[in-house]
Amino acid sequence: MEHQLTTSVSSDAAGRRALIGDTKPRRKKVRKSLDDEADRGVLSEHERRRGGVRASMTGVHVVLFVGLVVAGLGPILWLAKAAVTPTQDTLQHPFELWPNGIDWANLSTAWNDVHIDQYFVNTLVIAAGSWLFQVLVATTAGYALSVLKPKYAPILNMAVLATMFIPAVVLLVPLYLTILHPPVIGTSLLNTYWAVWLPAAANAFNILLVKRFFDNLPREVFEAAKTDGAGPFRVFWSIVLPMSRPILGVVSVFAIIAAWKDFLWPLLVLPDPAVQPLSVRLPAVQSQTELDVFLAALAISTIIPVALFLIFQRLFLRSAGLGGAVKG
């Protein structure tokens, strides 16, 4: 799992490099895991063997490990403890382990009263839809602008790029009005997931990433396919998409993280609690929920993504095993 974590993130970095047009040829070794012994860093083997360096590296090791556990895991562990601790114990003795016993009922109260399950499903639906639309728009547009290249492509390219210079906040009010009175459909999109999915898909950054990636794909392959009589749809589906898995991974990670983080926009366009994601719902019920139950709700909301994160990593592992087929 850990290997997967680091490699999947290196794809993230690759995306950023592609974005900034970093032309440096990358070392073949990158493929290997970060634990690879052959990979060297600042320290040479020789230096590692020196007593002083060795001792201080051990010290660094310990400090680093403890620091990371405290900062990375500490808050989660504390939350896990607080989730089953009565309010007064949490307030009076935040670091004592259950001076007055464990209160398991917090969890069921949070689950039943705060309806974490429902809001979590809402969050997932929002993330999945945002992801699908972002990938759909980014790949089709990237393909059209990079590979098909109609003669008006540069103008469109500029128009898309230009939106990157406009911060999202400018759009807040007019976009909100667009959701209230969308063109053609005539019925407000307020309280529907379309109001979150569709604006998320208008993401110039994704298109730029994908286009840059497509720009770098070997043209000969397309030409060969064309000579074999493949139309633009077939080239897209059977050649371009399979080759673009890495960049799709990057776009997917960005899309899902963005959907997961989004707060202000869903707060505005999903006023109905029944369709709200956790990010909007938790602050809304905070003051009406007793602290111990609220912390239990926070804990449940945390456990689920952490667990999904781990499962997601395993899935990644498996698809990476199948992923060798990309070349073929």
Binding site: L91, V114, I179, W197, V285, S287, Q288, T289
Partner: protein, 455 residues
Amino acid sequence: MKSAAKVAIASFAALALAGTLAGCGTGSGDESGKLELRVATFPPGADQAAYDAFAVQEKQFEKLNPDIDVIGVEYEWKAPTFAAQLAGGSLPDVFTVPFTDTKTLLENGQLMDVTKEVKDLGYADKFNPIIIGEVQDDDGNIFGFPRQAYAMGLHYNRDLFTAAGLDPDQPPTTWEEVRADAKAIAEKTGKAGYATMTMGNTGGWQLTAQSISRGAEMQKDNGDGSYTSTLNNDGTKATLEYFHDLRWEDDSMGDNFLLDWGSINQEFAAGNLGMYTSGSDVYTALVRDFSMKPEQYGLTVIPTEGADAGVLGGGDIAVMSPKIDDAHKAAGVKWIDWYYMQKLLNKDAAQADAKALADSDQAVGTPVLPVLDKATYDQQQEWIKPYVNVPTDQMAGFFNGIFDQKPVGEFKGQTQPIYGLLDNVIQAVLTDENADVDALLTKADSDAQALLDGQ
């Protein structure tokens, strides 16, 4: 190729379905042939019991009006969401707004004119004239049903009083006694003796209430549609210096100074706070939404000092959106009449309502001010007496004193934005020991005047 299209179509279909389902939750399709009426219920996070009580009342109403399907919608008057809902047209058909907002809303054409309906129902003359004035335009047209009014009261935690060696049946009657009791509570129990709201315009609201209790006038109505800000007055200054002393000399205000209506209620209900001021009707929410233990609750009148001193009051109004059609309007009026008004006017309705609430452990008898004339109010109190389940003897201080206090309404010009300015003043005094009260008030006053002149 085929597979590409298939996958695309399948995922689109799935998404379309999800999108439509999400939309359905709030749509107003009326398959049963009934008219769907969306009405405001409770703030998010209310008790299950509150919903149970509402369900009972909903059934009763639908039995009387078989052609109307009432749909309860979670609702809280909270500035950001209200503005968004108002603009987006996603408010329920029937909802409530505080007095402070009604003037602007009706001037903007955002409320349904119900003059004829109020007259037809026959209780137009019964309203307390000061209160009906809150929902009338210059021509006397009526735009809503005042349904509940409150006066500011001093809420206190009886358990903390006892723990601090104070007598919970002898609550403080002057601001100096409040200070002494707050200090005793802070010293003996380690909890906050006294606190006040500071955020989301509630800080200005409470600062105004406490200034008025010291005889302040926050704004002059010039009678020609213009207003003069008088925030920099002796009463407000005295209030701020009082807070400064409680906070920095006595350290009896706890550690959290970023509180709004919800969070201060939460602190109070959790037993972390000795005393605070808020509307007299907050008991209902404290017990229903914040799980307060009734036996801990105490209520008395807000102390008043000086000849001009008064008690700030307010209330809310049941209104309808001007955008709904006649059928919904008629249904909405029926609902308002039945749900909000008849229980104030009619013995059977009053008792049925009280019984429904009492049966599901909801508060009956929470102290409110009469929206109708005093005689009707006293009569109604008499009807529901058998069902009263709030600890009225713990509210004796309020019941005994409130009708001797001079009621004062909230100032009218730019109420909420000026409350927002005052939030900053109270926050500064509570979080900065060296805050300059005079400078803060001078600045707030000129900013307020700029707001008033900008209209």
